[in-house]
């Protein structure tokens, strides 16, 4: 039996393929719970999960909250501010205060890369990284892999194209680690200003044109564009970005047969994906991703709580 021998889940980078498979398989077994009339099992009764969110998030926070509640854990949501200008309570003081109340798991979302690692070193609770800066977003990559596996039957051997602002994307990084570990061929595309330095050393091929990247792709994963990047001259305008990188019907002729289209959400319609593609059940799996998200997060909470021991 494979165990998740970890105190924390900080990133996909440090996960083995066995650990990824274990989480995915556990999540698959949890999928059914969300389809019941009474969507609750007593598995984590008496456990407390704190969702400590330093960055605005609706879907990830809600998804973790529902995941915890469906397993009967007590979930507590804390929205905190990251203002470094106003001297407030530090992350560590907040965490130590929470630690003193003996929760079991702290789910942390933070705009600063490495914040969960700091927390994991300093407190005894299990930490789940729910997104740290542009670093990692492990639960997103896991739910993406689960969706791909369900839709395509496998991950190994597939070609996955990730398109958009790779530089600022934690979703891209976690998926690159996860998908390459699971045997997929990953390519990335975006304007050169959105490409991190030496990205190809991560084991991916990088393109500046979407058409080259998505050719024969089995999976096309579009990333969200942050509007504020325009001010940093990462791109000149949404209009120009959309003209060259918005996934539209014409692109679907270039991809492999039955290619699926993914997006971590929330979508800027007409910027990253044209509305007809986003809403096309023939290729868009965006809502499946959301659905898998709850199951994957249930699996993460369960396995970190000593489940499967």
């Amino acid at each position: 039996m494979i165990k998740l021998g970890k105190k924390d889940i900080l990133g996909i980078q440090e996960m083995t393929t066995d650990e990824i498979s274990l989480i995915l398989e556990t999540a698959e077994s949890f999928l059914e719970i969300s389809t019941r009339e009474i969507k609750k099992v007593p598995t984590l009764r008496g456990k407390s999960v704190i969702n400590l969110f330093y960055e605005a998030s609706t879907r990830t926070r809600t998804s973790f909250e529902i995941a915890g509640k469906r397993l009967s854990a007590d979930t507590i949501n804390i929205s905190a501010s990251t203002s470094s200008v106003v001297k407030g309570e530090t992350l560590l003081d907040t965490a130590r205060t929470l630690e003193a109340m003996n929760p079991d798991i702290i789910v942390l979302r933070h705009s600063a890369a490495g914040a969960p690692h700091l927390l994991a070193r300093m407190v005894s609770q299990s930490i789940i990284n729910a997104g740290d800066g542009a670093h990692e977003h492990p639960s997103q990559a896991l739910l993406d892999m689960m969706t791909i596996k369900e839709k395509k039957g496998r991950i190994a051997g597939l070609k996955v194209a990730i398109v958009g602002d790779i530089l600022h994307s934690r979703v891209a990084r976690s998926n690159i680690y996860g998908l390459t570990k699971m045997g997929a061929r990953v390519v990335v595309a975006g304007p050169a200003t959105m490409m991190p330095r030496d990205i190809e050393r991560m084991g991916v091929k990088a393109y500046t044109k979407i058409e080259e990247a998505i050719a024969d792709a089995d999976v096309v994963m579009m990333l969200r564009i942050q509007m504020e990047r325009q001010k940093q001259n990462v791109f000149p305008s949404l209009r120009e970005y959309a003209q060259h990188y918005c996934l539209s019907r014409r692109h679907m002729k270039l991809t492999g047969l039955d290619a699926i289209v993914m997006h971590p959400g929330p979508i800027n319609r007409g910027v990253e994906i044209s509305p007809d593609i986003a809403d096309d059940p023939g290729c868009s799996v965006i809502l499946d991703q959301v659905n898998k998200g709850v199951a994957v997060r249930m699996a993460m909470l369960y396995l970190l709580s000593g489940g499967n021991e």
Binding site: S84, T90, A113, G114, H117, G133, A134, H135, P196, Q232
Partner: protein
Amino acid sequence: MKLLLKGARVIDPAGNLDAPMDVLVEDGKIAGCRPGIKAPPGANVLDLAGMIVAPGLIDMHTHLREPGYEYRETIASGSAAAVAGGFTSIACMPNTRPVNDNRSVTEFILRKAAVANLANIYPIGAISMGSDGKQMTEFWDLREAGIVALSDDGNPVMDAALMRRAMEYASSLDLPVIQHCEDRNLSAGGLMNEGYPSTILGMPGIPAIAEEVIVARDILIAEYTGTRIHFAHISTSGSVRLIRDAKKRGLRVTAETAPHYFTLTDESLWNYDTNYKVSPPLRGKADVSAIKEGLADGTLDAIACDHAPHGRTDKEVEFEYAANGISGLETSLGLSLNLVHEGVLTWPELIAKMSCNPARILNLPKGTLAKGADADITVIHPELAWSVDAGAFRSLGKNSPFSGRKLKGRAVLSIVGGDIKYDGLASKP
């Protein structure tokens, strides 16, 4: 008060001296330096067989935090750290609160330094009021008050016209101008070196060119105006190349680097340990090699540790919010000695970069064991193996990425003006 240092290997690069001999100190001055000196009556005689006797080491780039940030360091604690690290003279940057941009702050620092009475403290004055890059300070008045150089420290002078005027105005006073080379537009938001590690860690990068474009610009200004420029803590391969070329063309350019730039790379940041956060950031392997080459061929004149003590609250935070800097005075010599152990520098070359070269750049009457010079002497045990224990630093700043590191060789005696200000001979094995 007479002091006779017997039997050590005496290395005095300023006098081109490297031989076993004795050094006699009388009335705070070097009275003689030759083999077989007989102890005068009443002299304190120290047998230093196996040791290195060098001119008192000088660190030309430190931050003493007082006035304003006394929880990080005081002039007294910084002075204690200096002599414990083998430094008999240090220059301190003006980024205090208030900034050392006027005579009263300079005089305050010198008064506190006299009370501490350990190392010689040489204040560096700000180039611009508040170091905000707009209005020039009163260089003349500051020099009369005791500053030895001008710099806006961590605030690079981004305005090229101000930099030009400052270099011209300072040249009439023979005051060196020190630039922290960082184009703030290119480095904006950056937290670490831009490269594969920053891609992996998802942190905004500071590209090497942020440093290099300012190095290049200020070399051009120095050439055009016929003035001199000193570059602080050079960290990139491109900067070394630019400075090497400028020196070849006879320009009056000098430069320093810090031990962390020839010891660590950006790969050390994998765990987001804020003790590795410095400005400029730790660079890649090729840069580390280039820094060593620059030291070996003389492109880089000096080693200065950029001593930047911080309190725990400045470092025990998210990497993004953590302060830049390493508390370096007590590890600088030990780390720099690795350059000798590795064969990058000879002993006299290393001593020169930590004594007479910074003295020459700052026009200090220091860094020599010539007869009649101030008796500032550092005695180094070249073989002593020791482990860095940041918790035991004299500095209030315990922020060091080197804690636990094993080093070979350290200062065992720091003599300032003929007086022993640090005595670590007891720990001699």
